[in-house]
Amino acid sequence: MTPPHNPFIQADGKKPTCMEMLQVIIDGEASSEQQEYFKNHMNRCLPCFKSYDLDMAIKRLLKTKCCGGDAPTDLVDQIKMQISQNSPG
């Protein structure tokens, strides 16, 4: 049996470490082929599985806790007013 082709291998043929593969995944840069490969890898690699779980949980927490806070309601009006004052005519 030949091992499945690793889509994380770079043009230079260097085999990526677990951490390198994980970062591609966490950073949202993985192709669907890479995602598929990593999902399989993760099922056999406990460190990857745990790190993935933690990193994704942090990512979700960041998104829910640090994204809120809409711009002040008067900001758009102020910007539009400034532009109309500055433009000719």
Partner: protein, 197 residues
């Protein structure tokens, strides 16, 4: 995004359409970015206002229908560095040489914070994650914001920040580890013990 010399001759109506249809929809993301950079709501407001005025002034170098969000983020980042940071004299403390060395070292497979657990994150329902993010040095904070909050790709981040993709990658790697260190400090102070050691 490139410093191209292309100038589009937009009519007044086209300018307004681009501004209202492509620029203004990003106002909340822009404000959040401004706030996370300055850590001050008034400064964030000024920074965003300034960014939008610049965007309008240079609207002819923006190609209609392209990545307006990345274009705007780049202007805001530059305004922050050139105007705000100079004013407040906040120095950049990141040692980039150190970052690169770190990333290329043999340590990359070592788990930095084995004591941080997913379960302990579940108790961070207050400002812990926000405070942890804000405590990072501004350059590390920025890559986390761009990647995790705003979903920018390496290539877009490289253009927004004017740095090579390799640096984006290594800076993100370092930033994530620093954030985890911070979070594990919080977790510890919340009473979690490392039961694995």
């Amino acid at each position: 995004m490139e410093e191209t010399l292309i100038r589009n001759n937009y009519s007044e109506k086209e300018k307004n359409d681009i501004f209202n249809g492509e620029f203004l929809p990003h106002i909340n993301s822009m404000y959040n970015f401004g706030f996370r950079l300055t850590l001050d709501r008034d400064d964030a407001k000024d920074l965003v206002q300034d960014t939008y005025l610049k965007a309008y002034r240079f609207i002819e170098s923006f190609q209609k229908g392209t990545n307006a969000k990345a274009w705007l983020f780049r202007i805001l980042k530059n305004s922050f560095i050139n105007d705000y940071r100079k004013k407040t004299k906040e120095p950049s403390k990141v040692d980039y040489q150190e970052v690169e060395t770190y990333y290329n070292s043999e340590d990359v497979n070592r788990q930095i914070t084995p004591d941080l657990r997913v379960e302990s994150l579940k108790d961070m329902i207050g400002d812990e994650i926000s405070n942890a993010l804000n405590s990072l040095d501004v350059d590390f904070r920025t890559v986390i914001i761009l990647c995790d909050l705003e979903g920018f790709k390496y290539e877009e981040m490289a253009k927004i920040l004017d740095i090579p993709i390799g640096t984006v990658r290594s800076r993100l790697h370092r930033a994530r580890n620093l954030l985890k260190e911070k979070l594990s400090e919080y977790a510890k102070s919340m009473g979690y013990k490392n039961t694995e050691l």
